[in-house]
């Protein structure tokens, strides 16, 4: 469903992604971890072309992401994205946030889009917030709206870039619960997160990145119990003991 084939990316002279080879199958839940600046966000953002690659090949849903002929808007409609800082539209209500893309990009009727929006708001546990503005919600609620906004496009892939890092500790659980439910329903997910509980419970695979490279990957239980790479071991000990 997602395939990186010898992908490299440079920012000027800086080699931010180094020979990335990675295949993610339908329904798989992949968690990406690694030190700050290791290229996790960059790799994730290549998948929906928020970042372009310098060379190699990246195929998503059977489409070459960086091909000139690719209709990027069409591809993106099928890939939901959740950001660290939610990025809800502050001038629109919760309902408008969620119905915007379905009505504009998918040409759904207003009624249909609103019905879908209410369904997903129910699902993320805040059906009573339809007419609130983002600024009236807690961080955890905002992030759940952002997830509902992504889901309302009925995408086949969901990308998460540190969805709980900007949240107060007491709100992390409510967001992770929504994500776990999604994972269990078979959504294909790529999640940059350091939440080990989440990874252990629902991830099929952990990917450890450092300095723009994928250094190690494996099943969560194996990886956390017994990382092979020295740098992964070092990183885990720092994350666990902080």
């Amino acid at each position: 469903m997602i395939r990186f084939d010898s992908v490299n990316k440079y920012y000027g002279d800086f080699h931010v992604l180094q020979n990335i080879n990675l295949e993610i199958n339908k329904g798989e839940v992949v968690v990406v971890i690694g030190p700050s600046g290791s290229g996790k966000s960059t790799m994730l953002r290549c998948i929906n072309r928020l970042e372009t690659i310098s060379d190699g090949e990246l195929i998503v849903n059977g489409v070459k992401v960086n091909d000139k002929k690719t209709n990027i808007n069409e591809l993106r409609r099928n890939i939901g994205m959740v950001f660290q800082h939610f990025n809800l539209y502050p001038h629109k209500t919760v309902l408008q946030n969620i119905t915007l893309a379905p009505t504009m990009a998918l040409n759904q009727s207003k009624e249909e889009a609103e019905k879908t929006a209410r369904y997903y708001l129910e699902k993320v546990g805040i059906p009573d917030k339809v007419n609130s503005y983002p600024s009236q919600l807690s961080g955890g609620q905002q992030q759940r709206v952002a997830i509902a906004r992504g889901l309302a496009m009925k995408p086949e892939i969901m990308l998460f870039d540190e969805p709980t890092s900007a949240l107060d500790p007491e709100m992390i659980g409510e967001v992770l619960d929504v994500m776990k439910a999604l994972a269990k329903e078979g959504m294909t997910m790529v999640v940059v997160t350091h939440e080990m509980g989440f990874a252990k419970e629902v991830a099929d695979r952990i990917i450890f990145m450092d300095h723009g490279q994928i250094l190690e990957q494996g099943k969560p239980a194996d990886f956390y119990a017994n990382p092979k790479e020295e740098r992964a071991r070092l990183f885990l000990s720092r994350v666990l003991n902080h």
């Binding site: 928020l50 808007n73 993106r76 539209y89 001038h91 893309a101 504009m104 990009a105 503005y133």
Partner: protein
């Protein structure tokens, strides 16, 4: 004491100038806004050559005195066979000059909207134009209105350069009244009052909009 007979005796002259100052201001307002929007879009559109043209326009125009631009149209163009009246030359200069500041205000407003807004909109499959129209511009407008209002106030005041190139505006007729009556101070007091009649309502309007926009968030 200010001698009000000067105003009363020359009221027609003053009003003729006042009328032309209003015309020049309105044309300049519309013209500079349209040019400003176009230049701002050129500066931020994801197309490099357009960015360069926009940047050159802004840096070039806003860094030369308005009077020089007016002279270019009034005394420079006749040298190549194009003759414009003082009013037309001055109003064009005013529009072109103010547009560079308006373009900057609009660009700054658009760029002050957090990058994540465009990313969220684009990643949900909206086109660049859709994202601009529904997500970026509505947020930018609140930031942009006060500085644009201030540029409009500057425009009204700057229209006084028409007086130097026989542009038939308030300043020009003020000069005429002054040379007839041999009075300077009082004549220009009344000129200033006419400008205030235009700029104070504008200023209040900007302040009002600023407050209203602050209230919706």
């Amino acid at each position: 004491m200010i001698d009000f007979s000067i105003l009363i005796n020359n009221l027609d002259t003053y009003l003729e100038g006042f009328k032309n100052t209003i015309f020049a201001s309105i044309i300049g307002l519309v013209g500079s806004f349209i040019i400003g929007v176009i230049v701002a879009v050129m500066r931020i559109a994801p197309i490099k050559p357009l960015n360069w043209i926009g940047t050159v326009y802004v840096e070039f125009i806003r860094n030369i005195p308005l009077l020089i631009i007016a002279f270019f149209f009034y005394v420079g163009l006749p040298a190549v066979g194009v003759t414009l009246s003082g009013f037309v030359a001055g109003t064009i200069a005013l529009s072109i000059y103010t547009a560079s500041f308006i373009a900057e205000a609009i660009r700054a407003g658009i760029q002050s909207v957090p990058k994540g807004q465009m990313e969220a909109a684009r990643s949900s499959g909206l086109t660049y134009v859709q994202a601009m129209r529904t997500i970026i511009l509505p947020q930018a407008i609140k930031i942009v209105i006060p500085p644009i209002g201030n540029q409009f106030i500057n425009l009204v005041k700057n229209s006084s350069i028409l007086g130097i190139i026989a542009g038939l505006d308030l300043m020009y007729f003020g000069d005429i009244v002054s040379s007839h009556t041999f009075v300077t101070f009082d004549v220009y007091i009344f000129v200033a009052l006419f400008y205030l009649v235009l700029t104070i309502p504008l200023s209040l309007g900007v302040g009002y909009l600023e407050k209203r926009l602050a209230r919706n968030h």
